[in-house]
């Protein structure tokens, strides 16, 4: 092991040290604080004369006298099935007082790309029990579907509701079928928020099949850049070695990106948009693309990253780059939240790109995609009219327009609104959809095949009369 006492610069999260032997790019480093503990880091740049080291636990207290040890390998995560039920800190050390972890293997945390040729296209419907997701933005096994939220919105409740209710209908559980596991990675969230998750996991018994990584708000920021990688390495082991169906919750990606920005600034890199590093797209993709399915392997990784959009602005680089990588997104909406709608999901900008292959005959129901399309069209039209009605009043609108206004209201009250403790089956969700669509005259249902109208349209729907 190479050891030096050659630190010549400490700057933000970075330490520079002189060396006289070759050090590998990405290699792990330990910095000894003369009797005051040890910090870990990673080589960010390696030349034949010096190295730049990114220190995970912060550089406070590091001085030129500290000794630097190069471990000769990149950062690894010790993995084993025994991690289930354990709580670790943001750099993977157990903090639950449990027994020492005896690893089956140690895996490089950066991970390597799944060969696209070896992937299996995700098409297994996951019923989350939430109508706005199942009905209109269907989640499938192996998908990466983030929650786009804002400060103070109930994204945690939604993530927990999904984790609690998610089932794959008609699956043979029990005899050898794969089991479900949760990997939860917290990055810079408050202890209170973390408790919200932990309590729920405990209450529902989910903790036993979970691995929890906690980097909290008062933990070192730079550590946040490795927490999700540790979590995903664990998830890959559980999914692709042990055949679990793993649901990975990453929260809050915004804090992760802030940490990236901090490191970039310390390195005096040319910043990209709004000060975030130009390589942030690539960096994020190396996390998100670790979701998926592999041909011939039973297990899967489904990701639900959570991010809070600064200023609720989805053109901000964090949601923007995320949306360009993930397979859709679910918007948590402030206006619906203030109306008391639970969960306050705005379906219009939300999207699940894997929906079309995961629904329909034999998967959910044959009218599913038609119903979804028509609900979208109807709700969009109704919401547009709300702007107009404020100006001209309801009387100036045609009967058709008034129907759409009512449709939008009822859609929010009856279809979106369901509460955090209620789970609806997909059939219940589709019935709720038909109940609303039956407010509209049949001729308006131009996204729906005539045979489905025949079958599901409710002739005497209670509210087809319009109040003027």
């Amino acid at each position: 092991m190479k050891e030096y006492q050659t630190i010549n610069e400490v700057s933000g999260p970075l330490v520079f040290a002189e060396i006289d032997e070759p050090i590998g790019y990405g290699e792990m480093v330990e910095i000894e604080l003369s009797g005051r503990g040890m910090r870990r880091g990673q080589v960010l740049e390696s030349t034949d004369k010096f190295v730049a080291i990114q220190v995970f636990e912060g550089t406070t207290g590091i001085d030129k006298k500290c000794s630097v040890r190069f471990l000769g390998e990149t950062l690894k995560m010790p993995v084993t099935g025994d991690l289930l039920g354990r709580v670790l800190d943001g750099s993977g050390q157990p903090i639950d007082g449990g027994p020492e972890i005896v690893p089956e293997d140690r895996r490089d945390i950066v991970g390597t790309a799944i060969n696209p040729y070896a992937r299996e296209y995700p098409r297994e419907f996951i019923q989350t029990g939430i109508s706005s997701i199942d009905g209109m933005n269907t989640l499938v096994r192996g998908q990466k579907l983030p929650l786009f939220s804002g400060a103070g919105l109930p994204h945690n409740e939604i993530a927990l509701q999904i984790a609690r209710q998610a089932t794959v209908p008609e699956e043979d559980v029990g005899d050898g079928g794969s089991e479900f596991a949760v990997v939860f990675a917290a990055m810079g969230i408050t202890a209170e928020e973390a408790n919200e998750f932990m309590d729920d996991f405990e209450r529902t018994g989910a903790l036993e099949r979970s691995v929890v990584f906690l980097n909290l708000a008062d933990d070192p920021a730079v550590e946040r850049t490795i927490t999700p990688r540790l979590a995903l390495t664990t998830a890959e082991y559980l999914a692709f070695d042990l055949n679990y169906h793993v649901l990975v919750i990453l929260t809050d990606m915004t804090n992760y990106c802030e940490a990236l920005r901090e490191i970039g600034a310390a390195r005096e890199e040319v910043p990209g948009r709004r000060g975030y590093p130009g390589y942030m797209y690539t960096d994020l993709s190396m996390l998100y693309e670790r979701a998926g399915r592999i041909e011939g392997v039973e297990g899967s990784i489904t990701q639900i990253p959570i991010l809070t959009m600064p200023g609720d602005d989805d053109t901000h680089p964090i949601p923007d780059l995320t949306g360009y990588i993930t397979e859709g997104q679910i918007y948590v909406d402030r206006e619906l939240h203030s109306k008391g709608v639970e969960p306050p999901i705005n379906v219009l900008p939300s999207l699940s790109r894997l929906m079309s292959e995961g629904i329909g005959e034999g998967l959910t129901r044959n009218d599913h995609s038609n119903v979804s399309d028509q609900l979208y069209a109807g709700y969009a039209e109704g919401r547009d009219l709300r702007a107009l009605v404020n100006i001209v009043g309801r009387e100036a609108l045609s009967e058709r327009d008034n129907t759409y206004l009512d449709f939008a209201d009822r859609f929010e009250r009856e279809f979106i609104q369901q509460g955090y403790e209620t789970g609806r089956t997909i059939v219940e969700t589709l019935s709720a959809g038909w109940n609303l669509l039956s407010m509209l005259p049949k001729t308006e249902l131009n996204r729906i095949d005539e045979s489905y109208i025949e079958k599901y349209y409710e002739e005497n729907s209670e509210s087809s009369e319009v109040e003027g």
């Binding site: 034949d48 060969n115 992937r119 797209y281 690539t282 360009y324």
Partner: protein, 584 residues
């Protein structure tokens, strides 16, 4: 990539490693030479030479690589292997066959492995088309091979060879490395060519294209057509439909060959193509779509330097099929990721950044790429074309950013995607007010001749109606629809059917997904018939409410999903006309 590690010219020593960029001293190298980096022999390319220091972009992950390790030069520029076996294949950005890598490495892509771009052992039935004594020149076709069920591969004299008389030519089963032909100039010819990806393959002449690339997408063929040999950009925010549109073109357009470049995008989208295309039929030949398709997949999490090179790999393969006389269409999804790869490498080189950090040569690189599109007379006198459709992913969906703007200066077709249309599930979410095609006029003669003589007039009617709607909508936003005079209300109604029945097209509906030009035309016509008859009814005294209540009219929106569309439309036009006539 195929280069077996040829013996070193002069090894260099690594001095510095920073992500995908490595500097080495003591390397005897030319610009753009291919090199092998470090003990593991990672593939790289020389991108700067300064004094004794050579800078290399590495096409693989560099973790663990340290100063002091060697760098080996191949002395040759980054090249692709060209020959039979590229169709129905999937490659990474430097033409490593992903199916072969899976066999060697399993599901995850490790580094330091290499495999030839085309199978060196497989035997192909070669049929000569020239005989002993014939005079052949660079580019000439000397024989054929049935590459896939739908594509006959033409074996050509490489453009950089010297021509001559055929001394020997061998029919029969051969591998791509067997000598199948010898010329009196001494050239020995195999079915495998190597070509540096950054240099366009030579042609005789470039022409103005006059034939449309028929896409089967109503809004494209009907309003914003692209030519065979043309260029198009499709910018839009995330989730607006760039990839679906490009998949639609790859599926249904009437090109002979498709090269689909997934540049820095999602793994699953490539998997989807691999899984779905073999099961779909090429509308032109009835054969499996995959047999005309070559995929380049350098997904977002694969090395960034290989993302930079993947568009070149793709277009070079396209040029090779063009040389055979084929119409090739290249889909590049997304050119923004390619530009970002340039930016990332450039910033590691500490080059002076231009606009938004992109290197100053961004615009030059983009135009050089799109310039490789066109309709050509090849060296061998065949005609071939390359059409390029590039997706653009502007940050925040803002089209004023450098990649979109620089692209718009080059391409002649602009399909602008619109998030607000996508939100209301109006697909394809192409904004008809912002999009344009500069090919319309040059393609009209073909459309008149091959579809209907009044195609341009019908299109103009639709364009005018939609423009009129846009104006009226502004007023409606202020006063409501009912405040408009009845004829304007009727225009809005007609425009609504143009939007819902013509412009919208569901890529996921078995029938609607593809609309042949005849159907596209008749759909236009059906809505125009409604327009004409309804205006007659209106001036005959019918009210707008009565017209709106006509039972047959909403069926205009079902033309797209009607498989027997001829009958359906005829019947529908008749009913609409009859029912409207009853009103006055």
């Amino acid at each position: 990539m195929s280069q077996a590690k040829e013996k070193t010219i002069e090894d260099g020593i690594i001095k510095r490693v920073s992500g995908p960029v490595v500097s080495a001293a003591g390397l005897d190298a030319k610009m753009n030479d291919m090199v092998y980096v470090g003990d593991e022999g990672l593939m790289g390319e020389v991108i700067r030479i300064k004094d004794d220091l050579t800078t290399i972009q590495v096409y693989e992950e560099t973790s663990g690589v340290s100063p002091g390790e060697p760098v080996e030069n191949t002395g040759e520029p980054l090249s692709v292997d060209l020959g039979p076996g590229m169709l129905n294949s999937i490659y990474d950005g430097v033409q490593r066959p992903l199916a072969v890598l899976e066999g060697q490495l399993g599901a995850f892509l490790d580094r330091g492995v290499d495999a030839p771009g085309i199978d060196l052992e497989k035997k192909w039935g070669f049929k000569p088309t020239v005989k002993k004594g014939d005079e052949v020149n660079p580019g000439d076709i000397i024989g054929t091979v049935q590459e896939t069920e739908s594509i006959e591969h033409k074996v050509m004299i490489p453009p950089n060879f010297v021509g001559g008389k055929v001394v020997r030519i061998q029919k029969g089963e051969h591998t791509v490395v067997d000598e199948i032909c010898e010329l009196d100039s001494g050239e020995k010819i195999t079915m495998r060519q190597k070509w540096p990806v950054r240099s366009p393959r030579p042609t005789k002449q470039k022409h103005t294209p006059t034939i449309p690339l028929v896409t089967g997408q109503r809004i494209l063929d009907g309003l914003f057509p692209i030519a065979k040999g043309g260029t198009a950009a499709i910018p839009g925010p995330f989730g607006s439909g760039k990839t679906v549109t490009q998949h639609q073109l790859a599926k249904w357009s009437d090109a002979d060959i498709i090269v689909y470049v997934g540049c820095g995008e999602r793994g699953n989208e490539m998997t989807e193509v691999i899984e779905v295309f073999p099961e779909l039929e090429d509308p032109k030949t009835g054969k499996a779509l995959m047999s005309r398709t070559c995929l380049i997949a350098n997904t977002s999490n694969m090395p960034v330097a290989a993302r930079e090179s993947c568009v070149y790999t793709g277009v070079t393969i396209a040029e090779y099929y063009r040389d055979m006389g084929y119409d090739v269409a290249v889909m590049a999804d997304s050119t923004s990721r390619w530009a970002e790869a340039m930016r990332e490498i450039s910033s590691r080189l500490e080059e002076m950044p231009g606009e938004e950090g992109y290197p100053a040569y961004l615009s030059a690189r983009l135009s050089a790429f799109y310039e490789r599109a066109g309709l050509f007379t090849n060296l061998n006198e065949t005609a071939g074309s390359i059409s390029i459709v590039g997706a653009v992913s502007p940050p925040g969906g803002d089209f004023s950013e450098p990649v979109t703007q620089n692209t718009l200066r080059i391409v002649k077709t602009f399909w602008a995607l619109d998030a607000s249309l996508a939100e209301r599930r109006h697909f394809p979410a192409i904004n008809w007010n912002e999009s344009y095609s500069l090919y319309r006029n040059q393609l009209d003669p073909w459309l008149r001749e091959n579809v209907e003589d009044d195609w341009p007039d019908v299109r103009q009617w639709a364009v005018t109606t939609l423009a009129e709607e846009a104006k009226l909508q502004e007023i409606v936003q202020l006063v409501g629809k009912d405040a408009l005079p009845e004829d304007q209300q009727l225009t809005l109604e007609v425009a609504r059917y143009l939007r819902e029945g013509f412009l919208q097209q569901n890529a996921y509906h078995d029938v609607d997904t593809y609309s042949e030009p005849g159907k596209t035309y008749l759909t236009f016509k059906a809505i125009q018939t409604f327009n004409d008859e309804a205006f007659k009814a209106l001036s005959g005294g019918a009210s707008i409410e009565q017209i709106q209540a006509i039972e047959a009219v909403p069926r205009l929106n079902r033309i797209g999903t009607a498989s027997e569309y001829g009958e359906f439309i005829e019947q529908l036009e008749k009913e609409i006309t009859d029912q409207l006539k009853e009103l006055y």
